[in-house]
Symmetry: C2
Subunit: 182 residues, 2 copies
């Protein structure tokens, strides 16, 4: 080998080393970049799942709120109606007083109109008296406070009502207190 | 140059070419990877912003719902009360009938108890009559249907009430209809 050849060979070897380390470096960078890509993809996938979950939560919440609001609107009068029922009971009892003359008869007639006005206002809000006398006893609507045995009346029928029951739309505010035939 | 040397040189040149193209390839891959990283980072940042925006929207919605529900609860009786007011007016008029004897007096006393029971139930729900006679005229609460000039009465004072006004909590359901002194 000539001297020149030796120098050339050394230079080539050096160049190869440099190139090899360049390749190594860039492969190192590439593997780091790929790691970063994997990390970002995982984070993005998490974030996207979270967005979907949040949207589902939001939709569920909205639906629940809508149902709550509907229910609140439907039964909004319940509290006031419950408080009015005792006065309504008293009103009915007061109207059952017997009129002894024309004057008291006219007073009672006026009061009966007032009573019917109140019942009408309650009805508009969905309040209705529960049917009782003459219908089949139904534990959802009637509370039996007395039981009798009358052979000439139908079995399980309501014979008498002691206190009116009321419902607000489909909700029973209080059952009617009744006498039932066995 | 010997033949061997020539072969060696060609092999080296080929190897260098291969290495160079490897470097180019890996740099190409790296730049693609970096592009992908930039793209993913942008998407992740978008997704994170969206999560924050969604959370803020959700919180706003919850707050609005809470306020709506509070308001709905506060004024829940409004509809029924509005429907009851005409019956209440009639009730008051009916109670103003003069009792001619003990019998009618006792009927009216019973009815007065019923009336007070209704007023009590309404009060529990936040309904109250608006003060009028003897207080300063206030257009928020009073509707002047008559104006007079009485020198011996205070200026701008309510002298007489023709129809009761009512409010539900802080909300005027209807103003009192009154006579005012100029």
């Amino acid at each position: 080998m000539e001297e020149n050849d030796v120098v050339e060979t050394i230079e080539q070897a050096e160049a190869e080393l440099v190139e090899e380390s360049e390749i190594e470096e860039s492969q190192d960078e590439l593997s780091k970049a790929n790691e970063r890509i994997a990390e970002l993809e995982a984070k993005l996938s998490d974030a996207e799942n979270r967005i979907l979950r949040n949207q589902a939560d939001f939709e569920n919440y909205k639906r629940r709120v809508r149902l709550d609001q509907e229910s609140a609107t439907t039964y909004r009068a319940q509290s006031l109606v419950n408080d009015l029922l005792p006065a309504l009971d008293n009103f009915e009892r007061a109207l059952q007083v017997e009129a002894k003359d024309e004057h008291s008869k006219s007073i009672l007639q006026g009061m009966d109109m007032v009573y019917r006005g109140i019942v009408e206002a309650l009805k508009k809000e969905g309040v209705e008296a529960i049917e009782s006398v003459g219908v089949q006893f139904d534990p959802h609507f009637h509370q039996a406070v007395m039981q009798v045995e009358e052979a000439d009346a139908e079995s399980n029928i309501v014979l008498e009502e002691f206190q009116k029951g009321y419902k607000l739309k489909d909700r029973v505010l209080r059952p009617a207190m009744v006498k039932v035939n066995q």
